[in-house]
Amino acid sequence: MKRSSFYFKMVTGALLRKRSRMLVALLAIAVGATIVSGLMTIYYDIPRQLTRELRSYGANMVVTPADGTKLTYEEIETIRALLPAENTVGTAPYRYETVTLNSQPVTAAGTQMNEAAATSPYWNISGEWAADDSSIMLGSKVAQLVNAKVGQNVELEADNGAGEGVKNTYTVSGIVETGGSEENFIFMTDTALDSFMGDTDSFDTLECSISLQGDELSGLAERINSSSDRVNARLVKRVTESEGTVLTKLQALILIVTIVIIVLTMISVATTMTAVVTERRREIGLKKAIGASNREITTEFLGQGIFLGVCGGILGVVLGFLFAQYVSNSVFFRSVSFIWGLVPVTILSSVAVTAVACLIPMRSATNIDPALVLKGE
């Protein structure tokens, strides 16, 4: 029999012998590893989760043309091509023109309705989104002012680019409530506003909703800015900063909880292993009496610790993922993805935690006096 396989036999034999104690230690490690790996999964997933979640609060980046100019359709597409597709929630171009409704001057916004719906999911529409060029939506303040209802026809007048008066009749498809200044606007499709004004390529802004955070987002803005002198991308500070703060605080909270749990696990494992050493005093004394060095005694203990750490770690990886999945489903209503990198991290850290927890018991094991075996305790 090889030395190593006899070693393995002794390590596992001792573990199985003190089954109930070892189960306590294993449970402590598994619970610790479960919560830690679960929290780590959430920790890494939170930005992804919450960034999407927070995107319902509107655009976090706005691209505008250089002073006194307009953005063309072509430029809009160029900018869109620069955005990472998988993180782009929506990009809504806006053209603003002053029109007259019932002799009242109001701002008409022309946009692509599906993109506006994506960037501004918080808009509350009574009725329908304007689906075609003959429909418009009124901001709730405008609707109140002119006393217009959904389904009614309204007539818009304006001076077009050539200085001529134009007018056209539209059907009100919906009333827009946002709780913001959008309630003072009229919304129509970009093509409807273009044909009303008699020209194209006159967008004032491109509002983007991107599910990125911090440096990644500002990096993206810089890339857009350096791509052309004609455009200026900036972050909507109010939105991005509060998102960042929320994420940082959540992650800090998770880190603190993780540390507390690691410490608790260590205490629990150390307590159990100390009890094991006390119970096995005679056996350890005997082994020393027949010639086991302190090093060999330590190695046996460490072997048990590592064995427990690996088993607890593997349990922790599996249960931790289920735990993270459960938390994510019930809190964020979406599932987490399995992070393979966490497998070695969890197992190694539970081995490390167990090994550290075994240090004190190991010391007391090496301090056991071999003479005690003749004392007939």
């Binding site: 005679r282 056996e283 006096d369």
Partner: protein, 257 residues
């Protein structure tokens, strides 16, 4: 008797163990008080004495598990009183075979594995050899049994096999038959006889006058001092039956010497 002790001194080079003025002091108490002792290679020595007289203390010091407060202990030509704890571990491993009253088996290992533990700490576990060792104490059939499945006598025989497995220079047994019935006591003593005939050095502490009488020489300890050194004349050519032995009488042991 005097002749015999003289001959021991005469053949100094054959002494496997020499104690010179060894004392062990616990505060006020002298558990061992200036003990001188020589044990020849291949000798079979029994140590008797009342409880608390220092027998286990002496065994611990000889076996390198404890340190003498004063004096020298020369084991196999080496003064072990000067050795570090680490090298004492090596000495125990390489030179000493230990047998205890409480058997002390590792209870999650089988009989043969308990023998292999000693091989493991010494060099390499060798199941074949461990089985042979069990065979010679008559336990080959029980090799795969756990301590809880063995009787006290069987456990003690496993411990003897374990003590012998690394060919120790000296076998130290502290009341090896203290927890055994007569039959098993006889079995153990018979194993000692065979080992003695093969040339093993044996020191056995016992409370049993017959077990003491079977040895070549019996030493009596009282209050940490050697008070008697009795030579027994035994025939080791045939198996021992303890009933044939008249235990050393109390007069012999404790009488005015």
């Amino acid at each position: 008797m005097a002749d015999k002790s003289k001959s021991v001194t005469a053949q100094d080079n054959e002494d496997i163990l020499v104690l010179e003025g060894v004392s062990k002091i616990y505060g006020e108490l002298k558990a061992l008080n200036n003990v001188d002792l020589k044990v020849k290679k291949g000798e079979w020595v029994a140590i008797m004495g009342p409880s608390g007289s220092g027998k286990s203390t002496m065994m611990n010091i000889i076996g390198g598990m404890d340190k003498a407060s004063e004096g020298r202990v020369i084991l196999d030509g080496m003064d072990i009183t000067k050795e570090s704890a680490k090298s004492l571990t090596n000495i125990r491993r390489d030179k000493i075979g230990l047998i205890f009253q409480q058997f002390h088996m590792v209870n999650y290992l089988t009989a043969v594995e308990n023998v292999m533990v000693a091989q493991y700490y010494h060099s390499m576990p060798d199941e074949e050899e461990a089985l042979q060792a069990l065979d010679r104490v008559g336990l080959k059939e029980r090799a795969k049994h756990y301590p809880s499945q063995l009787s006290g006598g069987e456990q003690q025989r496993v411990c003897i096999a374990r003590a012998l497995i690394n060919y120790p220079k000296i076998l130290l047994a502290d009341e090896p038959t203290g927890n055994l019935d007569e039959t098993n006591e006889n079995v153990v003593v018979e194993i000692f006889r065979q080992l003695h005939n093969e040339g093993s050095t044996i020191i056995v502490v016992t409370h049993d006058p017959e077990v003491a009488a079977v040895a070549e020489r019996t030493i009596v300890l009282e209050h940490g001092r050697i008070t008697k050194n009795i030579i027994n004349h035994n025939d080791y050519s045939k198996p021992i039956n303890l009933r044939d032995y008249e235990g050393l009488s109390d007069e012999m042991l404790l009488g005015k010497g």
